[in-house]
């Protein structure tokens, strides 16, 4: 029993320890290697870091629910891109021409709906056909990307709405709009996962699907709802980011699924499902963003980040396995 508690403590504390290590490393290394005079642990720098974590962070928090369910969603990057195009494109549609600035909420709702619908398609296919979620979403990662190209062509879509940019760049109590969205999503989903029936069902289904079915949980609709949530969050992430940038390229959002999954796994969520923590994922997101920023700070090429992230994902996978060993699986050789 005490052994289990120790393991749980290590698992939930590890990510914050990792963040502290990163902060120390980049501060010290930055003092010798950095080209700029600014310290790494600068308040403005840290606020910016939170803001830049938001796009991946919002998706990663949603991915946590999916993975606690024992599923995975590889199509979030394409959903993100499609929602972004709907957001920017719909603001220029002639039917909304008379709306003035009221076009903004309309475009937001359309973009978010896009995400929900794409998520629902994934969820319903997973439910009705019984095909594994990773195959379904692997395929729709390709299919949704095709839809992005069909809607957009191969050129970037741009549309800047200054009211929207002002909103996205605003700071409230020192934090940027995007940061507020990330915090709100984290807190709401933490509440859902720890304090509601839906959250308890999610853990139950991830832990033992058969048992959940026998206990009377409607597994199919539950899975569809979770896929709709992550579709919504991928779209929300696009809405928050592209309100400010105002230009979307059809290849945007590629490999976002990888970053999100890395954050979730870093945060201690079990790959097999049944166990995971939203707060841990939040820590994972911060850790990844620190790494990206820190590597830039000490003058590493941006390309190196891909290499480091990939290797960290594998290392964490190894640790996850060591911590979650079960006696019965151990058929050595």
């Amino acid at each position: 029993m005490s052994n289990e508690t120790t393991k749980d403590l290590i698992k939930s504390g590890a990510i914050w320890g990792f963040i502290v290590l990163e902060l120390i490393f980049f501060s010290v290394a930055g003092a010798y290697l950095s080209l700029s005079d600014n310290a790494f642990m600068d308040l403005d720098n840290m606020l910016l870091l939170l803001k830049q974590s938001a796009p991946i962070g919002i998706i990663a928090v949603g991915m946590t629910i999916i993975m606690i369910n024992g599923n995975i969603d590889l199509s979030v990057g394409a959903t993100y891109a499609l929602a972004a195009i709907v957001l920017l494109d719909s603001m220029t549609w002639p039917i909304f021409a008379g709306l003035g600035n009221w076009v903004i909420p309309v475009a937001w709702i359309l973009a978010l709906l896009t995400g929900v619908v794409l998520g629902a398609i994934n969820g319903i296919i997973v439910w009705k056909t019984g095909v594994d979620a990773f195959i379904v979403t692997l395929a729709s990662m390709l299919g949704y990307r095709g839809l992005v190209f069909m809607m957009n062509g191969e050129q970037p879509t741009s549309h800047l709405n200054w009211t929207l940019v002002d909103f996205a760049e605003a700071q409230f109590l020192g934090l940027h709009t995007a940061t507020w969205f990330l915090l709100a999503v984290t807190i709401i989903l933490w509440f859902v996962m720890t304090r509601t029936v839906h959250g308890r069902n999610a853990h139950a289904i991830g832990d033992n699907r058969e048992a959940a079915v026998n206990a009377g949980i409607r597994v199919g609709p539950h899975i569809v709802i979770n896929f709709m949530i992550i579709g919504f969050l991928a779209a929300l992430s696009a809405v928050v980011f592209y309100s400010e940038s105002g230009s979307v390229n059809p290849n945007d959002g590629m490999l976002y699924e990888l970053w999100a999954i890395t954050a979730v796994v870093l945060g201690g969520t079990k790959l097999a499902g049944g166990y995971g923590s939203i707060i841990g994922t939040f820590g994972g997101v911060i850790a990844i963003q620190l790494l990206r920023k820190g590597l830039g700070h000490i003058g590493a090429d941006t390309e190196t980040v891909n290499l480091v992230i990939g290797l960290i994902l594998i290392a964490v996978l190894f640790l996850d396995r060591q911590l979650n060993l079960k006696g019965e699986e151990e058929l050595r050789v």
Binding site: G143, V308, G310, L317, F318
Partner: protein, 333 residues
């Protein structure tokens, strides 16, 4: 009393038969219909030069699919083949100018197979989740390629004074060399999989890993060799790609992992492992190639393929799963 169970079982069998037939022949029937429709739309579709052209342009996907077949039959996944192919293409082009083709090719094979061995070690000996490991390696190898090339495109300086273009562009006995290489490789690997003890071990490990271990098969070693085989085929594909274009971008293989997987699934390999064959994969490759070619010939943009491939993958896997459980729809509530 005795009649009732017999009736239900025969009814179930009937349904299972239908599902089984659909799973075995559904794709083939659909493909024949597809060919008829597209030939009526454009008679050039079945011209000899078009057929040769399709096979030739499918060879790179095809060669990679041969290796991935081993991995899939052993019950694992390989999503890293696309970015690994970018790596081998860039490496062989770079070394060609530094060492000459005679040394560059074995050096590139060695480096690519080191990557394959690394993945094989992680999945085989450390027993990590192959989906996440190869997703992480997709990113890591992408970073490695960019670091290696410094982000620049690679070109062979003296395109006239080298025999390196023979693999991608040469013609022997009226047949393009890439088709000959693909055919030869398919023959050798097909015999290896169907006629040798190693091949039987691959099926055993994918069909029931625990049973295979108990019957004395060294599971870790078999999985390791499957990934080594996959990287060997990727190295071949990289060589064909480099030799065909004599210059390349860093991202030449991006996204190909999905097409490769689609071809393997179309050929009827189950993603749960234990079934599939090299000749079936070759058929899958050709089906995919002809579908893409047909869509282009009727004047659709290349990205429509993405959407079509999405639908095809889901249908193919769905049929496979439906045949296994004998019911079209998933029984999950």
């Amino acid at each position: 009393m005795t009649d009732t169970p017999q009736k239900t079982s025969s009814g179930g069998l009937n349904k299972a038969h239908v599902a089984q037939f659909m799973a075995r022949q559904g794709i083939l029937v659909a493909f024949i219909l597809f060919i008829i429709v597209f030939t009526m739309a454009n008679p050039r579709f079945l011209a000899v030069d078009n057929i040769l052209g399709v096979i030739r342009s499918s060879t790179i996907i095809g060669v990679m699919a041969l290796g991935v077949t081993f991995v899939v039959i052993s019950g694992n996944l390989d999503l890293s083949v696309g970015s690994m192919m970018s790596f081998s293409t860039i490496v062989v082009l770079d070394l060609h100018d530094k060492l000459g083709p005679l040394l560059a090719i074995p050096a590139m094979f060695g480096m690519t197979m080191c990557l394959g061995a690394f993945i094989g070690f992680l999945v085989g000996y450390l027993r990590l989740n192959s989906l996440i490991v190869t997703l992480g390696m997709l990113s890591a190898i992408h970073g490695l390629t960019l670091t290696y090339s410094g982000g620049k495109n690679m070109d062979i300086a003296d395109k006239e004074g080298t025999w390196f273009d023979v693999f991608g562009q040469g013609v022997v006995f009226g047949l393009p060399v890439p088709i000959l290489i693909f055919g030869l490789l398919a023959l050798v690997l097909g015999l290896l999989l169907a006629r040798t003890p190693f091949g039987r071990q691959v099926y055993a490990v994918g069909g029931n890993g625990t049973a295979a271990t108990f019957s004395g098969i060294r599971r870790a070693r078999v999985v390791f060799l499957c990934y080594l085989m996959s990287s060997f085929c990727v190295a071949f594909a990289g060589m064909l790609q480099a030799s065909r274009s004599m210059g390349s971008q860093n991202t030449v293989g991006q996204g190909l992992e999905l097409e490769v997987l689609a071809a393997v699934i179309l050929g009827g390999a189950s993603l749960m492992g234990g079934s599939g064959a090299i000749y079936k994969t070759v058929i899958g490759v050709l089906i995919l190639g002809f579908i893409q070619n047909g869509l282009l010939l009727v004047g659709l943009e290349f990205y429509v393929q993405f959407v079509v491939t999405w639908v095809i993958i889901i249908l193919a896997v769905w049929l496979d799963v439906a045949a296994k459980r004998g019911k079209l729809w998933s029984p999950i509530a």
